[in-house]
């Protein structure tokens, strides 16, 4: 894993100091708002960002965003402290710090934004920085592949979310979250909004069937897993659902979608957690379980459910970050993360064991830890939920398996007889130990004094509900159904722990489904792209031109059909002799071009057509256009003739095979263009612009040639754009021709 090189610099040098001090000071800064927020205040700041698009950098600080901000900065400081020792000697440590701080910025922006568009930008910042962090060990193919997978899954979800945001903007008349009034449930756009937002939230928070990227994201260095993939980024989707609960929640589809997908994710993930042998993977799946639980309870939406979800959010952040960091120390101190190998480390790594046990007790939901409080409230809310059996059943199974997983990760490796590991077991240095121990102690302290969590849980519950709610957290009050369920959980969990080696072997026989499915999907996309490229990028100029003009012909045909145009056939008797002469001239040139077997004849005949068109311009009084047309035509003939001197003669056999196609294309395009032009004639010409230029050309621009006056004066900016295109085209052609030059001309 990563780099275990010795670290000569104190706390990773300047980059490390910055990375630790920045989140720490932000944490302290956010802490000062706690009294105001706890008293029920909601702070809003507005700074214009892109006023023309209605994007403002509004900051919304309420209970929900403050809870997240404190978790992001607080755990962020502990994780960066850990990293300064864990990765401080890594050759790309500074790069790592930059990625991590970028991520932290994105995450903070995400939870603090009041404007949905700004929120989306930060949402994408977390996606991209997460990509960079998962692929930090970029020389490993697996890390690159997993990073790309996470990027694609969350990125596609992000696009769906963006579409949802746009619809919310249409439905509510603005992008400010605070300004969405009431519920959107009765709006005609509710269903598409709901589906798009949920797609974004479910991919980000790794709900089944989009869960597979999260365990793979464990390719990231362990502090990243601790930070992004347990405590912060993956909670982005949960945050979004919680944040939009007042506007989108409360409907049947909201309830059932969140409760069913959340429940399935929780149970499915906790079963798969037992299957893993890598203790980091065990933790990855328990993270999925926690995310599923949070989604399910936001779906339930009752006062108790939201209160339980907000408490569990804090519980989970504490113990999960602690356990991941603990695993980092174990990995660092023994050289392995294999649950079947690690035994008896307690004597060699006492401080790590302390952190592990504290965190695991909370994860198992044992009293007097904060995890027990969280689980009690989950049960209490589940027992009062509408789909009581389903919610309670899901949370029971998941909690029991969580209990067992806690034992696998944090109990078994430290007890029993010391087994042989790649590195002689030793405890980590203090910067690595501070984080997990502190977070473990938090779990204990908040468990003994649940009141401490109330200043955060109460306002965040209110923020999610959209109204005030009574919140009273306690460790133990009376023997009730929830308490009895807890006892049953411990019993079942203990049994599962005892038989988990058997379960693991049994579950390992079930082949994985989703990840190979992803691979097949990606292969399919690659094959499809390959086929499409082979179809349209043949390398033959003929084919390109054919496809381009065929597309044009179809587009014209579709336009004619859609607009229901009826071309007006002009009266032929109006044509005079000179008109007929030019017409025959052009027709003769066109026919000769089409039917000659000589390239040079074809080019010259095409020139005849062009000159015929120039004659048309002269007849109808546009000398400027006629001169230009004539010159361009002459130049074109000269240019093509120069090019053709070196081309071989046309092969008559080949011409015969393609002539039919070319004829069909030419006739189709010609007919379409003619119909469009005739149809245009039926619309009365608006002469206001012509009159304007006729009147103003001489007095205002001192010129009698209106065409030129328009070009160089009235619309000089357009002309400037056009000549820029001409210059670039010339340079581009030069570069292309020079680029294909053979080495020895």
């Amino acid at each position: 894993m990563a780099d275990h090189g010795s670290n000569s610099r104190v706390l990773g040098g300047p980059a490390g100091w910055i990375s630790i001090l920045l989140p720490l000071s932000l944490f302290l800064w956010f802490l000062q708002f706690l009294p105001a927020i706890a008293a029920g205040e909601v702070l809003v700041w507005q700074i214009d960002w892109v006023p023309s698009l209605g994007v403002s950098l509004g900051i919304l600080l309420d209970g929900l965003s403050l809870t997240f901000a404190l978790l992001i900065t607080g755990i962020g400081a502990l994780v960066t402290l850990f990293s300064s020792s864990y990765l401080g000697g890594h050759i790309h440590y500074t790069r790592f710090v930059i990625y991590l701080l970028a991520f932290m910025t994105g995450m903070l922006g995400l939870v603090l934004s009041d404007n949905l568009l700004a929120l989306f930008v930060f949402w994408e910042v977390t996606t991209v920085s997460s990509y960079l962090l998962i692929g930090f060990d970029a020389d490993l193919a697996k890390a690159r592949r997993d990073a790309l997978q996470a990027l694609l899954v969350t990125g596609i979800g992000g696009l769906a979310f963006l579409a949802g945001i746009v619809l919310i903007g249409i439905a509510s008349g603005g992008f400010s979250i605070a300004a969405i009034e009431g519920s959107l449930a009765d709006h005609p756009l509710y269903l598409p909004i709901f589906l798009l937002v949920v797609a974004g939230a479910f991919t980000k928070s790794a709900q089944v069937p989009f869960h597979f990227w999260l365990p793979n994201a464990m390719s990231a260095p362990t502090p990243v897993s601790a930070y992004l993939h347990s405590a912060t980024m993956v909670k982005g989707g949960v945050y979004l659902l919680a944040r939009l609960n007042p506007s989108l929640g409360g409907t049947d589809i909201w309830f059932w979608t969140l409760v069913v997908f959340g429940g399935v994710t929780a149970v499915f993930a906790s079963v798969l957690a037992i299957r893993q042998t890598d203790i980091k993977q065990v933790l990855a799946y328990t993270t999925l379980m926690a995310l599923g639980t949070l989604v399910m309870f936001i779906g339930v939406g009752s006062d108790y459910a939201i209160e339980a979800a907000m408490a569990f959010l804090m519980v989970h952040s504490f113990y999960k970050a602690a356990l991941f960091l603990m695993i980092g120390i174990v990995d660092h101190g023994t050289g392995t993360r294999d649950a079947t190998v690690l035994r008896g480390l307690g004597r060699a790594m006492p401080f790590t064991m302390l952190a592990a046990v504290l965190a695991a007790l909370s994860m198992a939901g044992l009293p007097p830890m904060f995890g027990f409080v969280g689980k009690e409230f989950l049960y209490k809310a589940a027992l009062g939920a509408p789909a009581m059996l389903w919610v309670t059943g899901c949370i029971f199974v998941a909690s029991a398996l969580m209990f067992a997983a806690g034992g696998i990760v944090a109990f078994r490796p430290f007890t029993g007889n010391l087994a042989k590991t790649p590195v002689t077991p030793h405890d980590g240095p203090w910067p690595m130990l501070v984080g997990p121990i502190l977070l473990g102690l938090f779990g204990l302290a908040f468990g003994l004094m649940p009141d401490w969590a109330e200043p955060l849980v109460r306002p965040s519950t209110a923020a999610v509900l959209g109204r005030d709610a009574e919140v009273d957290l306690y460790l133990f009050k009376e023997v009730n159904a929830a308490f009895l369920l807890s006892l049953a959980t411990f019993a079942v969990g203990f049994v599962i722990y005892l038989i988990h080696p058997l379960l693991r072997v049994g579950l390992a026989r079930v082949p994985p489904l989703f990840d190979p499915g992803w691979n097949r999907g990606m292969d399919g996309v690659a094959a499809g792209t390959h086929g499409l490229t082979a179809l349209i990028q043949t390398g033959r100029l003929r084919r390109y031109i054919f496809v381009t003009f065929m597309t044009l012909a179809f587009a014209l045909g579709a336009a004619i059909w859609r607009a229901d145009l009826t071309p007006e056939i002009p009266a032929l008797e109006d044509l005079r002799v000179k008109h007929w002469a030019v017409l025959i001239f052009i027709l003769a040139g066109a026919l000769l071009t089409a039917f000659t077997n000589s390239r040079m004849t074809a080019v010259a005949a095409l020139g005849v057509v062009g000159i015929g068109v120039a004659l048309v311009f002269i007849i109808f009084g546009a000398p400027d256009v006629a001169i230009t047309q004539l010159l361009v035509e002459v130049l074109q003939v000269v240019l093509v003739a120069v090019a053709m001197l070196k081309l071989p003669n046309l092969n008559p056999e080949y011409i015969r095979t393609i002539r039919g196609w070319d004829l069909a294309l030419a006739v189709t395009l010609g007919v379409m263009t003619t119909v469009i032009l005739l149809a245009v004639m039926t619309v009365p010409l608006d002469l206001r612009l012509t009159e304007f230029f006729e009147v103003t050309s001489v007095p205002e621009a001192f010129g009698r040639n209106i065409v030129n006056v328009i070009l160089v004066d009235f619309r000089a900016l357009d002309t400037f754009g056009e000549i820029a295109v001409i210059a670039v085209a010339g340079l581009g052609a030069y570069a292309l021709l020079r680029g294909t030059r053979r080495p020895n001309p």
Partner: protein
Amino acid sequence: MTSLIVRAATRLLVGLLLMFSIWMLLRGHNDPGGGFIGGLIGATGFILYAIAHGSKAAREALRLDPQTIAVSGLAVAFLAGLAGLIPGDAIFTGQWLFLGATEGDKGLPLSTILVFDLGVYLVVLGAVLTLVFALEEEI
């Protein structure tokens, strides 16, 4: 192409074409013509020269690289547009100066419009010649 007739005729024609192109440029504001047409005619002159004497000789006659001409034309047009800002008008607003204007005679009209059109002329001349010379040398 080394035909004596072409080479002899070119000697006359090139000069005529270049003078004609400048005349077209200058008259453009009131009569058919302008920078675009002028540039194309000027380019025809040099192309004729290149056909008769080879593109190397044509490049020498041109003295400047055609790419340079095209890009400096763009710069000239842009500067002419910027000049509109000096009296406080919008960018690309034409500015006029009538030298020696009296009652009844407007004198010699000078304008940023003409400078702009000169820029168009240079861009068209440069871009077309860039393309043609590159084609001829490539083939």
